[in-house]
């Protein structure tokens, strides 16, 4: 196979249609009026971002003196893929039946999980997808799991109430969903919960998990959570993590 380059994983860059061509598509708006000067501004900006041969392939007047661009450029940077380490919930996920069997064999009692959308967040789509009977996209929620007592407190639950409920029902785990992330309101909210649980001396007793479209496992751990689940997570992922952790705590 002469003439075909091998990927050098220590120097990876974007692929368009030829290895190492560096092609990136991007779109953004600039607060300047539509016209040739706007396109030149976009090109110069892309150069500063590290793109060679930046090209504006489309631009449009947004009204109010702003302009929208679709651009291509060749990325001049590379990354060393071989040295990358990403913290994640690293385990084989069980499906619902396996989780149920795991509970009856290893835990031998109901696992109690309390969930809520906390703070001012009114978007329950995430917590509902994980907890409600119906689940999401064909994946049943925790309420359907034999051996799990799932309590979904719904939206706009103050952290105080969530903790009070967890104490009342002797929860093994708390799930917090944060969908609204404008101005990083979720960070403040999630941090407050951890601090309150630490102050109550509960942090080590209860497994703490957060989730949402802008949540990563890494972020969750930084904030003091046991795990974080982002987009594309289903109930069985969360359930696997929680039941294994519960079993760990029993030994």
């Amino acid at each position: 196979m002469e003439g075909i380059q091998k990927v050098d994983l220590t120097k990876v860059k974007p692929y368009g249609d030829t290895l190492n061509d560096g092609m990136v598509q991007m779109s953004f708006s600039l607060p300047v009026p539509y016209g040739d000067e706007a396109c030149e501004a976009a090109r110069q900006l892309a150069s500063k971002m590290g793109f060679d041969d930046p090209a504006v392939v489309y631009s449009k007047d947004l009204g109010v003196g702003y302009t929208y661009f679709v651009m291509y450029g060749k990325c001049t940077h590379t990354v060393d893929y071989t040295t990358i380490e990403v913290p994640k919930v690293s385990m084989e996920f069980m499906d619902r039946h396996e989780v149920e069997d795991y509970i009856s064999e290893n835990i031998k009692r109901d696992v109690v999980i309390v969930g809520a959308c906390t703070g001012t967040d009114a978007h329950t789509v995430g917590i509902d997808a994980i907890m409600n009977m119906k689940g999401f996209d064909g994946n049943y929620g925790l309420e359907r799991y034999k051996g799990i007592e799932a309590i979904n407190m719904g939206s706009q639950v103050p952290n105080e109430e969530l903790i009070a409920k967890a104490i009342e029902v002797k929860a093994d785990a708390i799930l917090v969903s944060q969908v609204v992330t404008q101005k990083d309101v979720h960070i403040a909210n999630l941090t407050q919960l951890v601090e309150m649980m630490e102050a109550e001396g509960l942090r080590d007793k209860i497994i703490l998990v957060c989730g949402g479209p802008r949540i990563s496992h890494e972020l969750a751990q930084e904030l003091g959570y046991d795990a974080g689940f982002g987009s594309g997570s289903f109930a069985n992922h969360v359930a696997t993590f929680v039941v294994k952790k519960v079993a760990e705590k029993m030994v």
């Binding site: 779109s27 953004f28 708006s29 449009k60 947004l62 009204g63 109010v64 702003y66 929208y68 001012t120 967040d121 009114a122 329950t124 789509v125 509902d128 409600n132 119906k134 996209d137 719904g154 939206s155 706009q156 609204v180 992330t181 404008q182 101005k183 309101v185 479209p213 987009s231």
Partner: protein, 518 residues
């Protein structure tokens, strides 16, 4: 209109009359009660506004004072009227006096009832004229500069800062938007007061205040004249202050209000007694002000499955229609809601969505139906999302929806960026224009997938409505039949604000707005 879906008219009639009786039963309850926000609304409509030194709105100060004095069952109109007669002051001065501790409004001597009535009606009629003028002003705009074609393009702005919202709204209007909705800050629905003045801080949206309404109205009038299209302004008449928001909207010429009879109960856990009483007065105001209400059935489908629970959407539309009629809202102002929320992997899902949208069109022929975009199955893949929105737009123009809440390719990622809105408007304009008369050209196969689906949903909705009629709406909600959400009669927020009316209670605006000439 001939039914393309071959729907059975007898079934539609039966569903509609069951919904009528459901609303009738609830009306008996509504008529016996008032709430703190209904009373604050009356105070606002009589001219009370502003805040005290700790930013507590004077309508709250006044109503709280009457409540503490044990007089709320008589209604704020009675006490304000009495104070006007006794002190010779205007309602605003009286509220300020109460706030300053100079007037103990429930301890004043009681004047002659006719004099009280005369004083109350004099200020009330002035407000009614103001609202009527706003309606005329809107009609004048519609007759001179005109409006966009239906489906109206509805976009949201949500920066948290009203002045930033203005920039985004004006950009959207220049790009082709017909309706601008200013999303409220998260959790405003749970505040038992309406904040005051212009605001520049909010999360996921901007506070609904009367001043913010005024600022945005002025901006949209300017841009409307520039682009040669009247731009409608929308806000959220829901939560614990439904009628107050309606009053503020009527005073500042809003055009569209989210205003559902059951939404607050199900999705904000507001007490059902409270919401049902509040929604009635809020709708009377919206109806008179010529405001199009948007109902929230689409929300059921964010928690419940859009295929399995489609009939609950239709049942709720029937109920919302009947509650709206009770409050004097004409069909032309009923933006009944529904949504394009089926799982995109479903085989023939587009056909089911089409059936649902066409069915709503045929059952509510005059209503400017509000059609909501896909949200639940948006993934962050903005390219696929743009396609999902395209299919949604296609159905809308095909089935003559009234108000098209534009889907954003970046749904599920962030509140829309400036260009997201432009791309969505472009998407809709392209499809609406390119397929404009498809609805007139294409019929559906007899007993095919589309017809059968619509017939099945109608049959299930009719059955559900007859069930609800037997059980009553309160029990139905307690059992979780809407959106799979259970709420109890005495649970939720705001019940302490419900007060049973005294036999001499009166609210001048119910007569003036409901019975008055339009």
């Amino acid at each position: 209109m001939e039914s393309k879906l071959n729907l059975n008219p007898a079934l539609i009639d039966s569903a509609r009359s069951a919904a009528g009786r459901i609303a009738e039963n609830v009306q008996l309850f509504i008529d016996k009660n008032t709430t703190v926000t209904v009373e604050r609304t009356i105070a606002r409509l009589m001219g009370v506004d502003g805040v005290d030194e700790i930013d507590k709105p004077l309508p709250n100060v006044l109503v709280d004072s009457i409540k503490e004095g044990g007089g709320l069952s008589r209604g704020v109109a009675f006490w304000l009227g009495n104070a006007m007669v006794q002190t010779g002051k205007a309602p605003q001065e009286i509220a300020e006096g109460v706030s300053a501790g100079e007037i103990d409004i429930t301890r004043l001597p009681i004047a002659d009832e006719n004099k009280i009535m005369e004083a109350v009606y004099k200020v009330a009629e002035k407000m009614v004229d103001r609202i009527k003028n706003n309606r005329s002003k809107r009609n004048e705009y519609l007759n001179t500069i005109g409006e966009g074609r239906k489906p109206y393009l509805y976009v949201i702005v949500a920066t948290g800062n009203i002045y930033e919202d203005v920039i985004q709204a004006q950009a959207a209007a220049r790009q082709g938007a017909d309706v601008i909705a200013v999303i409220r800050t998260t959790a405003q629905s749970l505040l038992d007061y309406v904040p005051y003045g212009p605001t520049t801080e909010g999360f996921g949206g901007t506070f609904a205040t009367q001043e913010n309404f005024r600022i945005m109205r002025r901006a949209l009038d300017e841009i409307g004249e520039e682009v040669g299209r009247y731009i409608r302004l929308c806000n959220y008449c829901s939560g614990l202050c439904m009628p107050e928001i309606a009053a503020m909207g009527a005073m500042e010429r809003l055009d569209v209000m989210l205003n559902d009879a059951l939404y607050g109960i199900l999705f904000r856990d507001i007490n059902m007694q409270r919401t049902l009483v509040d929604q009635y007065f809020s709708r009377i105001i919206n109806g008179f002000a010529g405001i199009i209400i948007n109902t929230g059935e689409d929300n059921y489908l964010t928690t419940a499955d859009a295929v399995e629970e489609a009939h609950t959407v239709l049942a709720s539309q029937f109920i919302n229609e009947q509650f709206a009629l009770k409050a004097g809202i004409p069909e032309e102002q009923m933006g009944l809601g529904h949504a394009f929320e089926m799982n995109p992997t479903l085989e023939n899902g587009f056909l089911y969505e089409l059936a649902q949208a066409q069915m709503a069109r045929e059952i509510f022929p005059k209503a400017p139906l509000k059609y909501m975009p896909p949200t639940k199955f948006m993934t962050g893949n903005i390219f696929k999302g743009h396609l999902q929105d395209a299919l949604f737009n296609f159905i809308s123009v095909w089935t003559h929806q009234g108000i098209q809440l534009l889907g954003m390719p970046t749904e599920a990622i962030h509140t829309p960026h400036l260009q997201d809105r432009m791309l969505s408007i472009e998407n809709a304009q392209y499809i609406f224009n390119n397929a404009r008369d498809i609805g007139e050209e294409v019929e559906f196969k007899k007993d095919g997938i589309i017809q059968k689906r619509a017939q099945e949903v109608l049959a299930k909705a009719e059955e559900l409505l007859r069930d609800i009629e037997n059980e009553g709406i309160f029990d139905t909600i307690e059992k979780g039949k809407f959106g799979g959400v259970k709420r109890s009669f005495a649970g939720g927020k705001g019940l302490e604000g419900v007060v049973e009316k005294h036999e001499n209670y009166f609210n001048p605006f119910i007569d003036l707005l409901l019975g008055g000439d339009r």
